[in-house]
Symmetry: C2
Subunit: 145 residues, 2 copies
């Protein structure tokens, strides 16, 4: 698990570098892609980054055409951040070799096995999300004392 | 897989931040812990970082007591980097809640299921390692032209 974790972090850094983006910037776009359009406040909570940092981050991403700010169709007073980077050819080209390799790996498993693995990954994901909140609140309480 | 990946990256960043370390610095210590003592050149290859960056990184980590340089007992002309951070109480304390939560998750599976999951994670890990090499060589060839 830890070995996979380190390689995931390294991989993500290399993708960000090859796209000429900061790590946090690229990570945020990936989170937006997963969660769908969310507000800057929600992104701040999910990443554990301060609100000011998130505003600057969204400015950079909007300038580079990775996201755009829109009025929330359900609540016109809210501004949501919409990821548009999946349309960018350079992003899909960068991810393509990983995608191909993962599809190849998946094809060596039965549907039942894949379902089992997916469930495990989902649970491990939830454990990590809880731990991020935990660390985030510990760090904040440390810096405020 | 992608959701787990993003949370892994975020978690690692929060751990590094709570220990007051740069992301790459902490990541390198974790790689050293996994691979055992290696040379600076090998660490450079594994992380995809330039040799000069790795030297500065090892200097910082040695100063903070996370690693130490030693002569390779098998080849006195070589210097190897030995991770010593596992002895550091602050590191084990930071990882403890994740460790506890992961042990709890694992206890809900049978030995056979865990063996199966571990094998999958190992394979996914190898796929990512190949992709890192791939991206790393693409980026280097881009910057040299």
């Amino acid at each position: 698990m830890r070995g996979l974790g380190n390689r995931t972090v390294l991989y993500q850094q290399h993708v960000a570098a090859s796209l000429g983006l900061y790590n946090n910037d690229f990570l945020s776009v990936d989170i937006l892609h997963e969660k769908g359009p969310i507000t800057a406040g929600e992104l701040s909570k999910l990443t554990g980054l301060a609100t000011g940092s998130v505003t600057a981050l969204i400015d950079r991403l909007e300038k580079n055409g990775f996201v755009r700010r829109e009025n929330d169709p359900n609540d016109r007073r809210k501004v949501i951040i919409v990821p548009i980077y999946e349309n960018k050819e350079e992003v899909s080209n960068t991810y393509l070799p990983l995608h191909t390799a993962m599809v190849k790996l998946a094809s060596s498993y039965t549907d039942d096995e894949l379902e089992f693995i997916t469930q495990f990954l989902g649970k491990a994901s939830m454990v990590l999300e809880e731990q991020i909140h935990h660390l985030s609140s510990t760090t904040h309480s440390k810096s405020s004392t």
